[in-house]
Amino acid sequence: MAVRLAELTAAQFIRRRRRLPASLVVGGTIVAALIVTAALAQWIAPYPYDQMHVRDRFQPPNLHYLAGTDEYGRDVFSRLLIGSQLSLVLGATATLISMAVGVPLGLIAGYRRGVTDEAIMRVLDVMLAFPPIMLVLLILAVTPPSLLKTAIAIGVLAVAPIARVTRSVTLDLMSGEFIEAARARGERLHYMLLRELLPNVWPVLMVEASLRVVFAVLLGAVLSFLGFGVQPPAADWGLMISNGRAFVDTAPWISLAPGIAMSITVIAISLVGDGLREVLDPKVGGR
């Protein structure tokens, strides 16, 4: 549906803007701002993220260092900006991977039912039965860590829930008479899945996807915190929280700043998900 939004002329968009839900406006603005700052981080960061100011260690937030400095005298604010790149890329990539695999699986399981459905869903059940952290650690611990591998590991985790959501919405749609009308025309599998089913599953998937981005960002941070994700001296929010742990009582800003940044990101993406659901509902938005 993102394409549909883009197709609107400016005038239509302004007319529809009045009906946009507040959650989407607020969340979308924050997410857009995050993406812009992440993209421009190299240029707007006041200092290189790994530059150490040995004399300015443990500086609390001030005019020179907006979010203070860490134990090596590195500017926390600059590191936050650079770190946001990693978090956002990780969240988006992981979610794209899980959608790319999970959505087709769910559509086919829900459309075909019977043996196909059983086979797909039982395999996914097995995947769900693994404790998530264990699964990711298994993948990451045996090979050298990299961002792409972290994204794949987190993405694989989310395949099962996304496929389940897709399947349940598909099953619901299958009782719709327009599906039967399409079958009465003898439509082929790809048309049924892509034209009849997918556009109707999409709104639910958008909400689910925003939830998954949130999980991916959080899980990525957890992995960095545990030392399995991004390696120092790279700036990553999870890693920064982990490093600042030792100084929480004397220099809380080192951990707090990335924590707050993460909260804002997570809340903003959730808001976007909520807002999208309202806009994408054909009965509310007029498409």
Binding site: E180, A184, R185
Partner: protein
């Protein structure tokens, strides 16, 4: 005796200037405008109108169901007390004790996790302070009073174990549990089969007589109202347009809208090819402004400039009849649509378009891996995979000639939709064969059906889900054209507009989405989509059941016009015998997967009847007591005799249970599957005769 002719009697319920407005964001919708009526003690009043007329909002306002978005003004005097002004707690007490309510859908109204008896006992514990055991005992008595024979069993059952009719009885028992003086019924029989509907109406009329409870009955069906009510109020576009004694309104309606509603209802009689139902053109305005004139004027055939000059007052004639039309007294009957005389085509059995031979379909209820059950028998655990088989269609044979319409009647769950899908090969048969135009479809693999799919299409019942909500009308209609290469890409738009014109929708509807259309318009688009492949045969699966009476008439007329203009054959499936008779050349009556009677529409409606046909007709005409069907409506495979034997009032004995009934051929087109000689029930049903006479009056 009408409440209106007795102004001195103190009414039980008096509604004065009730106005209901809903606020949605910045929009305001008026659901009821200055409604006033009175219901005397022990009386019964029906509020009749189409969906969106505001009739349910009136009930909701009395029951305090409307929620915070509704703004209710005016007074509602119940037993002399204005309940609108009561504090919430006191009002709830009053509603719980003195007013009972029953709603449309008995399938969702009961809590599936609680036993039925408990749910009837609950209000007594709440409002009368009765102890639970005492209340449970009373609940069982109440169920017996509702005509349920094994009341103790029913009280102990969970809702899913009861049939729809039993559930509705239980809900009526719950509504009456605290001995209310008023029972509000909001479409209580709409979700039920005709035979069950007749039983429930009979029960309500008995309860009214025995308990002296007053009824406020809300319905879209004017026909049902006569059996139960003294007075009728007709609502249109949030206004009361007519209020009067029931026979007066049904026999000499004053307001044009009432006339239209009555005329639009198909008579229970065979119709010739050139007959059409009287339809009300247009649709009900969603935001009507009565200040600018009569709200019905845009759809009224009697309309003249004076009607739109100013607001129409509700005038009261000397006999207490109220009509919101200034020239009600001078109006003639509702005009009928005229069509050029159509030749009644003669069908020869030999050249059938569709030919079903001993068609059967059995559904396995066996699911996937998860339906395995583990249970312990004799100390050892066993795995069990339930092998249940449910026959939905059982040994059915018939044929449909080119240009012929076969009507298929039966109650819900009888297998009529399954039969329609078998003919289209949307479901594959378990036995027998389907031939289309001489080709045996049952032998073709699914991939080879494409040429057949082009020639046979389907129109559905559920206007809410028959169109993909994400496709515009144009996209939905273009798809069949592209799929079967019926029009070059550049010409598709023109073809789509031609299709829209065929179903009498403006070409501009091409860009609309399903949610922007009314129910009737959606059904037109669905018909246009079926026509897009230029089919020769269409299965119409209850195409008008979900529509209002006036819309139903326009769709039935449209289907009849298309049949004559394009020479289409239909399998027209419906639970409503009157609608089927209106459109069909032949009618087949189906019960539990079998056809029990088939013949021309006139032959099926006239005696001799199959006992089940007779019951269907009697239910529609409200004639004689109808035997209760067994709780489970699905047949079992083991059954070898007549499927109708358990409900049959003319059952001969064991032969009915054990031997399949012979097909008695009465004429070239008429056959009845029954052990009974066709003589004993040969009399015309008196109620049916009365109905047909009434229908002739409006013709």
């Amino acid at each position: 005796m009408s409440a209106l002719s007795l102004p001195s009697a103190e009414p039980l319920l008096e509604i004065r200037n009730l106005t209901i407005r809903y606020r949605e964001n910045d929009r305001q919708v008026t659901a009821a405008r200055n409604i006033s009526f009175a219901l005397r003690r022990g009386g019964s009043l029906a509020i009749v109108g189409e969906s969106g007329s505001g009739k349910s909002s009136v009930a909701g306002a009395i029951l305090d169901f409307l929620g915070p978005t509704a703004e209710v003004t005016g007074s509602m005097l119940f037993e002399g007390q204005d309940i609108a002004g009561l504090p919430p707690a006191q009002r709830r007490q009053m509603l719980g004790r003195r007013i009972g309510a029953v709603f449309q859908d008995p399938f969702t109204a009961l809590n599936p996790a609680l036993r039925v008896g408990r749910q009837i006992a609950e209000p007594m514990v709440q409002h009368l302070g009765v102890s639970l055991p005492e209340a449970l005992a009373r609940a069982e008595l109440a169920l017996r009073e509702m005509g349920i024979e094994r009341a103790a069993e029913a009280a102990n059952a969970f809702p899913h174990q009861l049939s729809g009719g039993m559930k509705q009885r239980a809900l009526i028992a719950a509504a009456l549990a605290c001995g209310p003086s008023l029972l509000i019924l909001d479409e209580p029989t709409t979700a039920l089969d005709v035979t069950i509907e007749a039983q429930i109406l009979r029960l309500l009329s008995r309860l009214r007589r025995e308990k002296g409870v007053s009824l406020l009955f809300i319905s879209h069906n004017l026909g049902v109202v006569r059996r139960l009510c003294d007075d009728v109020a007709v609502m249109y576009a949030s206004q009361l347009v007519e209020l009067g004694e029931v026979n007066r309104v049904l026999e000499r309606p004053g307001h044009p809208y009432s006339k239209g509603l009555l005329a639009a209802r198909p008579p229970l009689a065979a119709a010739s090819r050139d007959s059409r139902l009287a339809a009300i053109a247009g649709q009900m305005p969603t935001i009507a402004e009565p200040d600018t004139g009569c709200v019905f004027a845009p759809r009224c055939p009697f309309h003249e400039p004076r009607c739109s000059a100013g607001p129409q007052p509700l005038t009261i004639s000397p006999d207490g009849h109220r009509v919101r039309c200034w020239k009600a007294d001078e109006l003639g009957p509702w005009p009928r649509q005229q069509v050029a005389a159509v030749m009644q085509p003669a069908f020869r059995r030999g050249d059938a378009l569709v030919n079903a031979t001993q068609l059967s379909k059995t559904f396995g209820t066996r699911g996937g891996l998860t339906s395995w059950r583990l249970w312990v028998a004799g100390g050892r655990p066993r795995l069990h995979w339930p092998p249940t088989q449910v026959p939905a269609v059982n040994d059915v044979s018939f044929s449909i000639s080119p240009g012929e319409v076969l009507g298929l009647v039966g109650e819900s769950g009888c297998g009529k939709s399954t039969l329609g899908r078998l003919l289209l090969q949307l479901l594959r048969q378990s036995g027998g064969s389907v031939e289309f135009d001489g080709a045996d479809l049952s032998r073709l693999p699914t991939q080879a059906l494409s040429p057949f799919r082009k020639q046979a299409q389907i129109v559905f019942q559920n206007v809410g889900s028959s169109l993909n909500p994400r496709l515009s009308v144009g996209e939905a209609l273009e798809r069949p054209l592209a799929l079967f290469s019926l029009a070059q890409p550049g010409y598709r738009t023109r073809r789509v507009e031609a299709l829209l014109d065929m179903v009498r929708l403006p070409a501009a509807y091409r860009t609309r989405f399903p949610h922007q259309l009314s129910g009737g318009e959606r059904q037109r688009v669905a018909i246009a989509r079926a026509l897009a492949t230029e089919p020769r045969f269409i299965v119409c699966d209850e195409p008008v059941s979900a529509l209002d009476v006036s819309v139903q008439a326009t769709i039935v007329n449209l289907l009849a016009d298309l049949r004559d203009a394009l020479g289409l054959s239909y399998l027209f499936i419906s639970h409503d015998l009157a609608v089927v008779a209106q459109l069909s050349d032949r009618v087949a009556v189906m019960y539990r997967g079998r056809i029990c009677e088939i013949g021309s529409a006139a032959e099926v409606l006239a005696p001799p009847h199959h006992p089940y046909t007779r019951i269907l007709l009697a239910s529609a005409a409200d004639d004689e007591p109808i035997p209760e069907p067994p709780a489970s409506a699905t047949a079992t495979a083991a059954h070898s005799g007549c499927v109708f034997a358990t409900r049959c009032p003319h059952k001969l004995g064991p032969v009915c249970d054990e031997t399949p009934p012979p097909l008695r051929v009465l004429s070239a087109s008429h056959a009845i599957a029954c052990h009974l000689d066709p003589v004993p029930n040969a009399a015309v049903l008196p109620g049916l005769e009365r109905l047909q006479r009434a229908a002739e009056r409006f013709a």
